[in-house]
Subunit: 316 residues, 2 copies
């Protein structure tokens, strides 16, 4: 297996890369301006420079590399779709992505740009999972990948936990939508024997993870929440993610859309970091209660940076 990259003039051939070879290490950023402004000791672990601009490539590449099927079907609000489309391009597989028609245009365009088929749906008419079930019946040979509730996804995301381990963090805060990233981070840290406490940060609008965590059982949202954190517009935590979260996470933090917006603006102004709203959930979680994390060595994960210019202009 080989792939052609760069211009047609200077063709280079690569053999298929392993997961660790294919992913880009996370980018650690320390902003003295941000730390001084908040009076906190924060290290940002930014996945905005990961392939396709979010952590999802870790999961997607592992999945595309591992499953035996040549065709993969998924539902995604955008970043997983984009990552899976690119991973399938790199591994020579076919890919179909079901996306809400309200997804950021930049994400829809990117999925198509990698050669995948995009199936746009009106989520008021049909749920993403229902549409995927319809398509799965039409494509019996395809592997149906959840963007978060999948062993390969969690294993792929666990590479981020590996990278965060051994850095001496007291607390690691991770954005939560379906729970795929935080499950991976818990798994990776645990595997390394790192004892950092892991916190989840989810939108207050759509706080199923917090309610589930406090009740000790999976509780879904009634509908897809309309938070600006479009990567966390999920109905429920995944079934595979739930026990990992229940047993491995210290607490869940609900973040208002106002604090998410503040966080995007602070990243712009104080850290020169372009974050998408979902990625800014973890800084938003700090803004919700600055005292709580005083005097701790904090790592906050920025899960991705893909945000439509029109949205971003409003936020900054």
């Amino acid at each position: 297996m080989s792939s052609v990259v760069n211009s047609s003039v200077c063709v280079k051939f690569f053999s298929m890369r392993t997961l660790k070879e294919a992913i880009r290490p996370t980018t650690f950023i320390v902003s003295s301006k941000l730390n001084d402004a908040l009076g906190l000791d924060i290290t940002i672990a930014s996945e905005t420079f990961q392939h396709t601009g979010s952590f999802k490539f870790r999961a997607a590449y592992n999945l595309a590399l591992s499953v035996e099927q040549d065709e993969i079907l998924t539902a995604s609000s955008g970043n997983f779709g984009q990552a899976l489309a690119y991973a399938c391009k790199l591994t020579g597989k076919r890919c179909t992505v079901v996306m809400p028609e309200t997804s950021a245009q930049v994400k829809i365009d990117a999925v198509r740009g990698f050669g995948a088929t995009v199936d746009l749906i009106d989520t008021k008419q049909i749920g993403r999972n229902e549409r995927v079930a319809e398509l799965a019946a039409l494509m019996p040979e395809a592997y149906h990948a959840s963007a978060y509730d999948d062993e390969y996804v969690i294993a792929g995301n666990s590479t981020l936990g590996d990278e965060l381990a051994g850095k001496g963090f007291d607390a690691v805060i991770v954005p939560v939508g379906g729970g795929g990233l935080i499950s991976g981070v818990v798994t990776g840290l645990c595997r390394s024997g790192d004892t950092a406490e892991v916190f989840g940060a989810e939108p207050l609008i759509g706080n199923d993870a917090t309610r589930s965590f406090r009740e000790g059982r999976l509780i879904p949202n009634d509908t897809e929440p309309t938070t600006i954190a479009d990567g966390a517009r999920t109905i429920s935590l995944g079934k595979l993610n739930w026990p990992i979260i229940r047993d491995g996470v210290k607490d869940m933090i609900e973040v208002s859309d106002e604090k998410i917006a503040d966080a995007v603006r602070m990243y712009y102004g104080l850290a020169n970091l372009k974050s998408e709203p979902t990625g800014a959930l973890t800084l938003g979680a700090l803004l919700e209660d600055l005292e709580r994390f005083a005097c701790k060595r904090l790592c906050i994960v920025v899960s991705g940076g893909n945000v439509d210019p029109a949205v971003y202009k409003e936020l900054i």
Copy 2:
């Protein structure tokens, strides 16, 4: 010497740091989207996450650490002033910065935020260097630091050249205003025996470096150029920088303001990188002539990321 950081609750003491301890290593970013879009093999060396958001901290900290005077006076369109203000804060020195009143507001605010005195001037009425001379007469004890034409500045910037050395780049492209950064990069690469070709990228509006390079003698601009690359609104290359550039640079590339703007937009959309216009000069240089750099391992330096939101909104 010690400094108090973070919140007052959890006081930490640090001894004065050496230059290498104080600077943050440059951030290497490879964007497959950007590379695929241009058909080039580009590694971005981003100084946007350097302390105070630009490479200037390398120069400023070295200067503040090295000179014996307790007060430092400079003229700067913003990034050097901000960096010097922060470096003086860290080293316990006083700082006065002469800035054009047209400087980005975010940069003026930042300089003041670090405790420095800002002296705003109308550059149509008085040149920055003239105003500094006036102030220098009033402050005979102060060290007068050029933002680029100073041995300590070049030595500080040479640490970036050290970091770029040994990476196997065929060509390194560096933004050029007064020539302090490119002089440092040439010095650092040369010291390491790295044979990468170094190119300068400067605004077409204000192409004194290109004209100087082609004529083999220093030729200034008539007035401060009004390019959107506000970090490169310089009259002339520095006298100390000139021989290093003349002898160590392969070529100068003139970049139109349109291509600079395109580059800022491409960084936003394809690489999740927030660049200021001056930082985007080097990608702009590639956009001016894509064929020229085909099949080469390229490193393009993004010198900083500090840009007013109002300007950035227009650009993206």
